[in-house]
């Protein structure tokens, strides 16, 4: 009984030692967290050859409960449907991931990017330029 108790305590103590701690000194340089694959951070529009994969189907703006996605579809030179405008207002986004779930062509993902603080309201509007990565 006491043996097991000590064993358990040792494990705890081990994690107090250097090299084992899970607490990081954030935001000290070099200390980046590696969130899990399922973490829902900043969106990314998946590129596809010379354009974005998104076909401007309007499902994500429709499903979005925070109404923070703006899509404007248009026809490109090849006659394809593409998002002339694609914008996410991160100040409204609740990171629910519904957009990702709704997308029929897997054109939108959520990355592990969590450093989203900024100084100006406008900086929270993520347009195509910032989203296609």
């Amino acid at each position: 009984m006491i043996k097991e108790f000590i064993q358990g305590l040792l494990i705890t103590l081990k994690y107090l030692g250097p090299g084992h701690t899970t607490t990081v000194q954030y935001p000290r340089k070099g200390h980046r967290l590696q969130p899990s694959d399922r973490f829902r951070g900043l969106h990314r529009l998946v590129p596809d050859h010379d354009r974005e994969k998104c076909v401007a189907c309007y499902l994500c703006p429709t499903v979005c409960p925070a109404k923070c996605i703006t899509v404007e579809s248009a026809e490109n030179e090849k006659g394809e449907k593409y998002p002339k405008v694609y914008k996410i207002d991160l100040l409204r986004c609740i990171f629910c991931g519904y957009c990702v779930e709704a997308c029929p062509v897997e054109a939108i993902e959520m990355t592990g990017d969590y450093e989203l603080a900024n100084y100006h309201r406008d900086d929270f509007t993520f347009d195509k330029k910032r989203l296609v990565r």
């Binding site: 401007a56 189907c57 309007y58 499902l59 429709t62 026809e75 449907k81 029929p104």
Partner: protein
């Protein structure tokens, strides 16, 4: 009536109903793909299968099976579910699943059913269609990879439109819908096939990738083009009319539209719209504020009224309320010179009808035409001026086997219908032919003469119009005249159709009288369900007549005003919603009048050639921005609803009239269109008792479904003499345009971008004219140049040019004649 049980519910329906229709009436949903209310049952898709106890052992298509007494129907069971799912699986074998980029997504019947029946996998495998898309024309996009072969497009274009663009070709898996020789679509572009297609195989191109159906706000209104008064449902997003949505639930048109209604909406969104008032300073129109502009207008009118007077000429696309306010503005200015649609086309027609029948409007409504067994259409252009009424005629002829006679100077689409006969006469001789028909009835004693006034004089005058004699002059065989007259008199229910408009100003009174004479003598006036239809060119032509937007007392009509202004004896002209320089007969006279009047105010959407000559231009609003009522050609008062706001500082005519009246010190103030309507209903007898807010989806027909003729008086009327000349020019309306507004709308312009002169193929061969050649046409001391177009409609020696286009200057030649002798050269 038949009694049956559907899903345990006992119901009674008419014995012509199908199981599907019976279920629908009982509120039970059966899925369908190839069924459409207005088309004949077809039974192609098999998703509507149901079980009928009396026909055990197999499933029955509910859309084609008529109900029988005591039938017991089950609309859903495990087996039905399974079979429907299989049908869908089959459809999806070759179907490219394009939903994300398919504009039908969100309102696609196939998509909805696939979802409802949870078709998530497919037991069958096959190659996906890979057919080329048809995007040659600018209005309708066809992608046959998404087609489910329901045949609705084929059927609507044939059954309703009577055009017949499509047919099924090939067999088995190769089956597809194709146009003749599988070329790109080139047709009337009415868009009926677009609205019928249950999937995304036929789509409106101007709306391509614009929005999803659920993002669109639907606003029901009335088409602003012709007097048919079709309901159009605007699809509005971002304060723009993005498209016209299919709507067969309300209105008079059963969801049918013509190219103008379906694709002609875009003038409301045009960048060329006027957005601020303009005032002429040093010969230039410069932007001004409303206050400045209205001040200038009020000042100018006051001065002119004190001098030689003001003339007001209005278009017929203003709402009833606006026309009423305009009358009040006229009163405030102190002028009786008030008129609409010059050339006096409407004036002659109404005078003629009043003299004979004592009415100023159609006596019946559209649905009655569908039941008619004989129809007489005066002028083949009727289909061109009122296409959707034309579709009603198509159905009467094709479905109900009505006999159709067309008195016309050219062969038209009507003439191609089965059971149709064209009484093809030399230009300008309509009255002669109508007189000969009347004479034929009198000769063979079948004329109705009971209670008819003026018979003796008529008989005397008709002696000159024996069918044989008229045959020699007009080129219509005497036998044909007699046969047509006989058929008309022998009909149980007949319909006589007469259209009028700016390009048909000559002999309008004569034609109306001759038509009314014939209506009286053939018994059309007396028989129930038989009617005479008077169809105005513009959306509210009938309203303008009802409200009396005509010269009162000693006031001058449009032509007199123009003459007076040209002669310097009228000091000001107020032109509202009409581009007279382009559309009135005799451009020279109109221009002289605009130059001669010291002060001209134009109120319009665009800086038209007329507006360019004005001293003050007031930017007005399109129908899409207005609230009010239009009265259509069957006397139906219908509500117009605003879908968007006006661009810039443009205001509705309603608002402008109110402001102007106040500037003139008349203190015109109403709480809104409803109040104005109440005021006008007080003054106009026919509108008494109609309540603005009670005007429902079907409108209100003033005078009732059938308007009784007040008098039955036949009046002698003289025919015309044939026009001499190697070539005779006719002007008129082209199917794709209406008035001048449609030349600002992308859809109609995409199909017919500019004026043309049409030749019959015989003349074209002789003259060696081909499509696109530049042709010089000389007459009345003027010459115009137009592109040639060759078709098969015109008899030898007759050429035709539409009147809609400003640049063409057709009215330099056309001075109001029925037909013009012209010189034609390359």
């Amino acid at each position: 009536m038949v009694n049956l049980t559907i899903d345990g519910k006992e119901i009674t329906v008419s014995k012509t109903a199908t199981i599907y229709e019976a279920a629908k009436e009982a509120g039970i949903d059966i899925p369908v793909l190839c069924y459409a209310k207005k088309l004949l049952p077809y039974g192609a898709c098999r998703v509507c299968l149901v079980e009928v106890e009396q026909m055990k052992g197999r499933l029955i298509p509910s859309c084609t099976t008529p109900v029988t007494e005591g039938m017991v129907v089950t609309t859903m069971s495990d087996e039905i579910q399974k079979v429907r799912k299989t049908v869908l699986e089959f459809l999806l074998v070759n179907h490219v699943i394009d939903c994300p980029v398919c504009d039908k997504g969100g309102e696609c019947d196939l998509q909805d059913l696939t979802y409802e029946y949870e078709v998530v996998t497919n037991r069958f495998e096959g190659e996906k269609f890979d057919l080329p898309t048809d995007e040659v024309n600018p209005l309708i996009e066809r992608n046959m990879n998404r087609c489910v072969l329901c045949g609705k497009c084929v059927r609507v274009c044939d059954e309703i439109v009577g055009y017949g663009s499509y047919s099924f070709i090939n067999r088995g898996f190769e089956t597809k819908i194709a146009t003749a020789f599988d070329r790109g679509l080139n047709c009337e572009f009415c868009g009926q096939c677009v609205s019928m297609c249950p999937v995304g195989a036929i789509l409106p191109r101007p709306f391509k990738f614009k929005a999803r159906p659920w993002q669109i706000k639907e606003v029901d209104s009335v088409c602003s083009y012709c007097g048919n008064g079709c309901t159009i449902t605007m699809g509005v997003k971002d304060n723009k009319v993005q498209t016209i949505r299919f709507n067969d639930k309300i209105g008079v048109n059963d969801g049918n539209l013509c190219i103008r209604g379906r694709f002609g909406y875009s003038y409301a969104n045009s960048d060329d719209r006027l957005t601020t008032p303009l005032i002429k300073k040093d010969g230039e129109l410069v932007e001004a504020s409303w206050d400045e502009a209205l001040e200038a207008v009020a000042e100018g009118f006051k001065k002119a009224a004190a001098d030689k007077g003001v003339g007001i000429i209005s278009g017929a696309r203003l709402t009833n309320e606006e026309l009423f306010l305009l009358k009040n503005v006229a009163k405030a200015i102190g002028t009786e010179n008030l008129d609409h649609s010059g050339g006096e086309c409407y004036k002659g027609v109404t005078e003629g009808l009043v003299e004979t029948l004592g009415v100023k409007a159609s006596t019946g409504t559209f649905p009655q035409v569908e039941d008619a067994d004989v129809i007489l259409s005066i002028r083949s252009d009727f289909y061109e001026t009122h296409p959707v009424f034309g579709m009603v005629v198509n159905q009467a002829v094709k479905r109900n086997e009505a006999q159709l006679f067309i008195v016309a100077d050219k062969k038209g689409k009507f003439g191609k219908l089965p059971n149709a006969e064209t009484l093809l006469h030399k230009p300008a001789l309509e009255v002669n032919v109508l007189n000969a028909m009347a004479q034929a009835l009198i000769e063979d004693g079948s004329a109705v003469t009971d209670g008819v006034d003026g018979l003796d004089e008529l008989k005397k005058s008709l002696a000159d119009y024996a069918p044989e004699k008229v045959a020699a002059a007009t080129g219509v065989p005497a036998e044909q005249i007699k046969a047509a007259a006989k058929a008309l008199a022998g009909a149980n229910k007949s319909a006589i159709l007469l259209a009028y408009g700016l390009p048909y100003t000559a002999q309008s009174k004569e034609i109306a009288v001759a038509a009314a004479n014939l209506a009286i003598l053939s018994g059309n006036v007396d028989k129930e369900g038989s009617n005479l239809y008077l169809c105005g060119e513009k959306a509210n032509s009938q309203g303008a007549i009802d409200l009396g937007v005509i010269p009162a007392g000693s006031g001058q009509g449009a032509q007199q005003m123009l003459d007076a202004a040209a002669a310097g004896s009228l000091s000001a002209l107020y032109v509202v919603g009409e581009d007279m320089v382009t559309s009135y007969p005799d451009r020279e006279k109109v221009e002289k009048a605009l130059d001669g009047a010291g002060f001209v105010v134009a109120q319009d959407l665009f800086l038209s050639p007329t507006a360019q000559k004005a001293d003050v231009v007031l930017p007005a609003a399109s129908f899409a921005e207005k609230d009010g009522t239009f009265t259509n050609a069957e006397r139906r008062i219908q509500r117009v609803h605003p879908g968007i706001t006006s661009p810039g500082e443009a205001k509705t005519d309603y608002a402008i009239f109110e402001l102007l009246a106040n500037k003139l010190g008349a203190g015109l103030s109403y709480t809104g269109p409803a109040a104005v309507f109440a005021a006008l209903a007080n003054e106009v007898d026919a509108y008494k008792g109609v309540e603005f807010n009670a005007i429902g989806a079907q409108g209100v027909v003033w005078g009732g479904e059938e308007l009784k003729a007040a008098t039955k008086k036949v009046v002698p009327v003289k025919g015309a003499a044939a026009v001499d000349g190697k070539f005779v020019l006719l002007t008129g309306s082209a199917l794709y345009h209406s008035g001048t507004v449609s030349t600002h709308a992308k859809g109609p312009v995409a199909v017919v971008p500019e004026a043309y002169v049409e030749f019959g193929s015989e003349d074209a061969t002789v003259l060696q004219v081909a499509d696109g050649d530049m042709i010089k046409i000389k007459a009345n001391g003027a010459e115009v140049q137009l592109k040639a177009k060759v078709d098969k409609r015109l008899p030898q020696g007759v050429v035709f040019a539409p009147y809609h286009f400003a640049e063409a200057g057709l009215n330099k030649l056309y001075k109001g004649e029925a037909a013009i002798a012209v010189e034609v050269s390359k």
